[in-house]
């Protein structure tokens, strides 16, 4: 709006004898002055935004097309991507990632909604019931992982104690190829389910009371109420929870570090952990960059879809 601020405007507001001028044309000069001041206000954020969010995006795309040869970086077109997709373990990594993403969405939506319904039944002292689910949201993933490492421990862990008590054969949990990934996923779910439930809880509390009351009078079953009234009404929340659970699942790494470091035999190696391993353990910067670019593409697509969806809702609701 209005003309852009010029050098002259800045000088004018700074010049001593001009204070009077500024005062008498308050509104107009406010608009003019704000231009230069706005850039000053934005500068600290913009500098760090540029160096630590925008530049890294450009630089990682750039380095995904290059590789080190001797002392120089040379352009290698798509070779890094070729190497990435011919890495013998990449299929395992993608499979594990896909498991986390799909199971993550499923449990976030169904488990989150179920937990929210249970927390929303108007019990007294609901704060007391809510606390454990809130607590895990706030706990560091590293501590959560330490807790579960202890639970899964073959010799002194709670789970094997229970199995032994029931006279069942003991399990290796995190050291077995089949159970390691699901065991890891349980830890992720234990930490995050309360977070997803929070959004459903807010949605449930915003439901129109009269609709629910009318439904009750009509004598429909609990299932019908859930399926035909609640589920459609909370669908925006379902969309939102799905999106953030995909974004969250793609970034899971802390508990992988503590519990399995990607093992046994890459059974729990996934998206971000793979980037870490390639970049910081094997120093395959090209491959790590290529994987980062793929993750970036997925995340940005998801985010854009989310914005488009929100935009639509704002316009047509």
């Amino acid at each position: 709006m209005k003309s852009a601020p010029t050098q002259f405007d800045v000088k004018q507001s700074q010049g001593e004898g001009r204070v009077q001028v500024t005062r008498s044309f308050t509104l107009q000069s406010a608009v003019q002055n704000s231009g230069a001041v706005a850039y000053v206000f934005l500068l600290p954020s913009l500098v760090f935004l540029a160096v630590f969010t925008l530049w890294p995006i450009v630089s990682v795309i750039w380095s995904s097309f290059r590789t080190r040869q001797g002392r120089e970086q040379v352009f290698v077109a798509l070779q890094n991507y070729e190497r990435l997709f011919t890495d013998p373990i990449i299929q395992q990594v993608l499979k594990n990632t896909l498991f986390y993403v799909t199971a993550g969405v499923g449990f976030a939506v169904i488990g989150g909604l179920l937990l929210a319904l249970l927390l929303n039944q108007g019990l007294r002292n609901i704060g007391f019931f809510r606390f454990p689910f809130l607590a895990t949201i706030a706990l560091p993933m590293v501590s959560v992982a330490s807790i579960w490492l202890f639970l899964y421990s073959p010799r002194v862990g709670l789970f094997n104690e229970i199995l032994a008590g029931l006279g069942l054969p003991l399990s290796n949990w995190l050291n077995g190829r089949e159970l390691a990934l699901p065991a890891l996923f349980v830890v992720y779910l234990w930490k995050q389910l309360g977070y997803f439930a929070l959004f459903y809880l807010a949605a449930l509390q915003a439901l129109p009371v009269d609709v629910l009351e009318a439904a009750k009078l009509d004598g429909i079953t609990l299932w019908q109420q859930l399926r035909f009234i609640i589920w459609p009404l909370v669908s925006p929340t379902t969309y939102f929870v799905s999106t953030i659970s995909v974004l969250g699942a793609l970034q899971q790494i802390d508990h992988v570090f503590v519990l399995t470091t990607g093992g046994p035999n890459n059974a729990t190696n996934m998206s971000l952990f793979y980037v870490y391993e390639q970049g910081f353990k094997y120093f395959n910067i090209g491959t790590a960059s290529a994987m980062t670019v793929i993750l970036l593409a997925v995340l940005m697509t998801m985010a854009i879809l989310q914005f488009v969806y929100l935009e639509r809702r704002v316009h047509y609701d």
């Binding site: 204070v19 308050t26 406010a30 002055n33 704000s34 231009g35 001041v37 850039y39 206000f41 934005l42 600290p44 954020s45 913009l46 760090f48 935004l49 540029a50 160096v51 630590f52 969010t53 530049w55 995006i57 630089s59 990682v60 319904l117 039944q121 019931f129 454990p132 689910f133 809130l134 607590a135 895990t136 706030a138 706990l139 560091p140 993933m141 590293v142 330490s146 807790i147 490492l149 202890f150 639970l151 421990s153 002194v156 104690e161 977070y195 807010a202 939102f240 953030i244 974004l247 970034q251 802390d254 570090f257 503590v258 971000l272 970049g279 790590a288 960059s289 980062t292 993750l295 985010a303």
Partner: protein
């Protein structure tokens, strides 16, 4: 029959919630027990014996094995130092975007939006390279750098500032107050709630942060609690010092648990507002 059905309908949800709660509570209790009861007794004796053998030995050991006091200090400097800087950057940027007109506003808005789409954890590789070039590895400014500009905080403040009546601003401006004075004396006092909401999210998020500090810190003087705990965990696994590990875990999480117990309500709403953390 009908009475039974109604009972069933009322009792089942409570039972289900209790079952859910149990799954969430048991690991926490097991950790507490592991820290306060010697491991051998925890495994071989009955709960009655446990109560008699409660002790703090594991905490003393954990405290000695890892410099937790130093880690606490490091986490404090990182988390609250960063928060102080963020409060300045998000207030200034949010104010400019909410109340000022300037060329390129839409473009700048979009630049902030990019940060919401791309979580910092995805950019560890290029950001590590930048930090190495700046010689900021193993420094506090290195720990903080990727988070100093916060799109989430900026948008939160922009939204809050937009709701402040125009008259307040104009009155202050016509009294000759500078923009900075207007922001400080008129806008910030009435936007304490969003500032607090942002603070809760920022403190929790960075208190818990692991990957970035793991990559860029290498000395005891900078390393935060989470990385210290992970190191202890790695060594415990080999030596199976489970009681020390449990004690260490409790040392790390206590402040956060206390924080949410105190501000449970605000915590909930703040985290909902954060959407994508």
């Amino acid at each position: 029959m009908k009475g039974n059905a109604r009972n069933w309908r009322e009792v089942l949800p409570v039972v289900a919630l209790a079952a859910f709660g149990l799954i969430w509570i048991v690991p926490m209790i097991w950790t507490l027990l592991a820290a306060f009861v010697p491991t051998t007794e925890l495994l071989n004796d009955s709960p009655l014996v446990w109560l008699q053998s409660l002790h703090l030995g594991a905490f003393e050991d954990a405290w000695q094995v890892a410099p937790f006091l130093r880690y606490y200090l490091n986490t404090f400097i990182f988390v609250f130092g960063l928060l102080a800087i963020q409060l300045v950057t998000i207030s200034l940027a949010g104010f400019a975007l909410a109340r000022m007109d300037f060329r390129g506003k839409d473009q700048i808005f979009f630049l902030f939006l990019t940060q919401l789409m791309v979580p910092a954890s995805i950019l560890i590789l290029p950001n590590y390279q930048t930090l190495a070039k700046l010689r900021w590895l193993d420094t506090y400014q290195g720990l903080m750098a990727p988070y100093i500009a916060s799109a989430f905080g900026t948008f939160l403040m922009r939204q809050a500032f937009k709701q402040v009546p125009k008259e307040l601003e104009e009155a202050a401006r016509s009294d000759g107050a500078s923009w900075l004075q207007v922001l400080w004396h008129v806008f910030l006092p009435v936007t304490r709630a969003p500032l607090l909401a942002f603070s809760i999210v920022s403190v929790t998020y960075h208190w818990n942060e692991f990957l970035w500090p793991l990559l860029i810190t290498s000395s005891v003087e900078i390393r935060p609690l989470t990385v210290g705990l992970a190191l202890l965990t790695a060594s415990s696994e080999i030596g199976a010092q489970w009681d020390q590990l449990a004690a260490g875990t409790i040392i790390v999480v206590t402040p956060i648990v206390v924080l949410i117990a105190v501000v449970q309500k605000q915590f909930t709403s703040s985290f909902m507002g954060s959407g994508i953390k």
